[in-house]
Symmetry: C2
């Protein structure tokens, strides 16, 4: 049975708190906004807890075991993370995701070390989704996939990609032993990616926006690859944006 | 002679107004922030009008025909467009840029139609810089290159790329007639970019974030190209982020 209630003060503060990782983890909940992304969630295995609508908007015939909450524009503004509130917000349960290393065999896997910007992480999820990379492994100090900015930037891709946070050096060691695949790292120097021999399966690592890949992880990389610059000038961009680099690397692995 | 003055109320409001395109155009000025980007400007042909420092920071030995203004943290906060003020801000003259179509011959040129997001435009400038694309042509309704968000996201690349705003259909017609090169457009369908025959010179168009390339411009495209998805699932990302798409297209043109 669908319950239709009003937005209480306690729910308002619960939802607002979910912009902070600590409270997402404590409550095991995250927030997604907008009709498109929520209709994708409704069609997925993710479980919605609350579906909150602006009273002036039409309520779609969403069915499921969740509470529907109706509020006004000012109520929406209090809970929305967006400049322009799209008029619908879902509070969703964080699912248990665990990646078995064995399942990464014969697959291409993306790894990020300490990626900071949530927008970048969201874009990486879209890139994974586009290039058929089903698993994204993140170091513990990476941005949180359930950060509202990641969810919005991923445009629903977070629903289709398995994301796991782990200790990278241990993971890479176990990955190489279990799958027998190689570990590639993107650096500012190394083999030219365009002429490099890239396999269909393996793992490729992208480093932190400012510092790149750590020395500890670098030691576990089997092949360093880099995207050459074609600039004629001596002075040019020192690096590419991380999601731009990820896109080119994924594209190069896949086109062969 | 270097003048060192304080930050007056009128300069504060002038600088604040430069976050709006209308006032940038009226005053022919734009704003850049941060040591790295400003040192690149100092080494370029761009002319700085005011260089504003937080009094607690060290003033580098910048020389040139500009006014140095010293202020405190609260003064910096009033004029800064960034969450964390880096402590140095430059007010820079907008140069006159005009691109002669003849100069685009034997070159690869990027064109954007109605790109909206300043962060995306900044990332496109970085991509041009990396891939040796010297000229970026924008439709009149595209984000403004002197928007502070573009300047910051471009990480200095705006200094090395010629950007021109123009009426796209007229430009494309004249471009094709003058250079004899082809016009490529990125679409969600068309020739697979990985197997497409791409020349070293030509023009490629990226459409608006939501609507893609307009019908009017599409009619002038000689070859439609698309980046195929490698996702195994039926449901996957509907599109790639515009800067991700631009990076892959630039990469494919250049690697051959």
């Amino acid at each position: 049975m669908r319950m239709i209630t009003e937005l209480s003060k306690s729910k308002t503060s619960l939802i607002r708190s979910l912009s902070v990782k600590k409270y997402r983890q404590e409550n095991n909940l995250f927030v997604a906004e907008g009709y498109k992304i929520i209709s994708e969630i409704l069609n997925s295995d993710y479980k919605i807890k609350y579906l909150i609508y602006n009273e002036t908007k039409e309520i779609p015939s969403a069915s499921g075991d969740f509470e529907i909450i109706i509020t006004d524009e000012s109520g929406m503004k209090k809970i929305s993370n967006l400049k322009t509130t799209p008029g619908v917000l879902a509070v969703v349960e964080i699912p248990i995701q665990s990646i078995q290393i064995q399942s990464l065999k014969d697959n291409l896997t993306m790894v990020v070390e300490d990626i900071q910007d949530p927008g970048n992480l969201g874009t990486l999820l879209r890139i994974c989704d586009w290039f058929g990379i089903e698993n994204l492994i993140c170091s513990h100090h990476s941005a949180d996939v359930y950060n509202p900015k990641v969810i919005q930037a991923s445009m629903g891709a977070f629903l289709r990609i398995n994301v796991q946070y782990t200790d990278l050096p241990n993971f890479i060691l176990e990955y190489k032993e279990t799958t027998g695949h190689s570990c590639f790292g993107t650096f500012l120097e190394g083999e030219n990616i365009y002429t490099s021999n890239l396999p269909q399966s393996g793992l490729f690592i992208l480093g932190n926006e400012g510092n790149g890949i750590s020395v500890e992880v670098e030691a576990l990389v089997d092949k360093k690859i880099h995207i050459p610059s074609f600039s004629a000038g001596e002075i040019h961009a020192e690096s590419l944006n991380i999601s731009v680099a990820a896109a080119i690397v994924a594209s190069e692995f896949r086109r062969r």
